[in-house]
Amino acid sequence: MDIQKKQKDILGSLFINSIRVLFAILVIVLFLLIGKIVLEGIGMISFEFIFDEPKNNMTEGGIGPAIFGTIAVTIIMVAMAVPLGVFSAIYLSEYAKDSFFYRIIRTSINNLAGIPSIVFGLFGLGFFILFVGKNLDNVLETGLLFGQPALLWASSTLAVLVLPIVIVSTLEALTSVPKSHRDASYGMGASKWQTIKNVVLPQARPGILTGTILAVSRGVGETAPILFLGCAFFLPNLPIVDLCIGDYCIPMINPTEQFMYLAYHIFILATQSSNPTKTLPLQYGATLVLIGLTILLNITAIIFRYKFRKSLGRN
C-alpha cells in the first residue's frame, strides 16, 4: 500500500516536472530565435538602412520604401477598421439583445477571425479589385484606375482581416463598464446615445486602444493576403501624390498606386533574391525591424490591458 502510494507520487511528480520541462523548452526556443535574429540583425540597423532604398538589384541598400509602404497601408487600414469595429462593438454591447440573431453575429465574428489569410487575398481580388474597383472605374469613367491592384485595396482587405480583433477587444472593454454607471447616467435624464458617448465610451478607451494596437501589429505582419493586391518587389518611387490647393502642395499617400511592404520584402529577399546568401544580412536586418515593431506593439498592448484590468479591480 505504502509502496504503491510512493510510486504514484513519483509518477505524479515526474509528469508535473515533464510539463515544466516542456514549458521551459518553449520559452528557451522563443528566446533563442529572437536572440539569433537580434544578434545577426543588429549590425545592419543604421539610419541609412531604415531610410535608404534598395540598391544594386536589391542586394544592398536599405528598406526605406518598404517601411513607408507598411506605414501607409496601416494608416488607411486603421482609418477603416477601427471606426467600423468600434461601432460594431457598441451595437453588440449596448443595443443588441441576447437573441438568435446576436449569436449569429458573434459566430460570424469568430469565423471571420478563422478564415485563412490567403482566402482574404482571393476575396480582396474578387470583391475589391474586380467588383468594387471595376465598377468605380465604370461609374467615374476613370479608365483603369481603381480596377487594378493598389494600396487602397490592400488596406481594405487587411481592414476586414483585423476587424474581429478590434471588435472583440472593444467589446471586452464595453461590457466591463459596470451597469451601475449606465443606470446613474439614465437616472440623470441622459438618453441612450448621451450615455454611450459620455459614460461608456470614455471608460472603454483603453480597450479600444489595445484593439487598435493589436490590429496594427497583425496587419503589419500579414503577407499572404496582399500578395496579389498591389505589393511590389521594387518600386523606384514612393506611392505619393501632391495634393494642391492653389499654390500650396502637400504630399499625400496615393491610394491607387502599388507599394512595397516590409513583410513582403522579407519574403522576397529570402526566396526570390538573385543571391540569397549575399543578402542574408539584409534579411536579418529587415526581420529584426519587423519583429521589433510587432513585439513593441504587443508589449504596449499587454501593458495597456494589464493596467485597464487592474483599474477595474479584476484580473
Partner: protein, 329 residues
Amino acid sequence: MINQSQLAQFEIQPENSSLSKSVSKFAGLKETLIKVFFTLNGLAALIFIILIFIFLFKEGIKAFGHIGLMDFLYLQRLDANNILLRVYEWYPTSEIARYSLVPLITGTLLTAIPATIISTIFGVAAGIYLSEIAHPNTKEFLKPIIELFAAIPTVVIGFIMLAIGATFFNDLLNPLNRLNAFVASIGLSMVIIPIIASLTEDALRSIPVDLRMASYGMGANKWQTISRVILPAAFSGVSASIILGFGRAVGETMIVLMAAGNASNLTTDVFRSVRTMTATIAAEMGEVSQGSDHYYALFFIGIVLFIITFFLNLSAEIIINKMRKKNTF
C-alpha cells in the same frame, strides 16, 4: 445591459408645452437614427462573411466551365501500353493541364497533422502549466511571453525555418529534401502552440474551484487532481482548442510557402517536399492570367479552404459554447 422596459422609465416625459413636445420628438428620432446606424455597423462581420462566401463562389464556380468535378480528383490517361491510368497531379501549366487537388490536400495534411500533434503536446502542457502549476506571480510574467510567441509574424517564422531550421534539421535527420513537410510543420507549431496553450488555459481555468477542492479533500495529490478531475472536465474545451489549431495549420500560408519545398509530390513521407493548398494559391495567383481555367481553379481551391476552416471553426465554437453552458451553475 439595459432592456427596453427599464429604459422607458427614464425617457423624458412629454410635458404640456408644445415646444418640449417637439424637442422630445426630435430627440426620439435622433436616438432611433443612431440605433439604426450602430445596427448597420454591427452587421459588418456577418456581411463580410457573406461577401467572402459569394465572391469566392462567383469566381470559383466558373472553374466548372472547362474542368469537371472529377478532374479535380484525377486525370485519366492512356500510357504507352494503352492502359488507362489515373494521374493524380497538379500541373495546370502543362499542355494537358492537370488539376488534381489530391497532392495538394495530402501536402496540406502532411504539414498540418504533424504540426497539430507537436502543438498539442507542447500547447496542452503549457496550458496546464500556466493554469495549474505555475505560481501566480510567475504566471503573470510567463503568460505575456506566450502571447508574444503568437505575435511573431508568420513571414518571420518562415524566414527562420528557411535560414536556420532547414539547415538544422538537414544536419540532424538528413531528409530526402532539404525543405520538407516536417520543417514546415515545426514552423507551423510555433504559430499553433500559443493558440492551443491559451485556449487550454481558458478551459482549465473555467473549471469550478469546488471540483478541485473536492478532489484535494479526498486526498488526491496535484497530479491526480489534474489528470483525473480537471482534464476530463475540461476535455471539450481542450479538444476545441486542438480543432482550432488544426484549422489554423490548414489555413497558414507563408510558413508552408517558404519552408515546405513547394513541389506537389503525392507522398506520405514527411521528409519530402510538398505543396499545400494555401501555398499553391499564393505562388500561382500572381502569374496566372485572369479568366483562365487555372485562375478559376485557384479560386476553387479557395472555396475548399474556406469550407474546411469554416466547419472546423464552427464545430470548435459549438463545443466551447456547450462547455460554457455546462460550467455556469
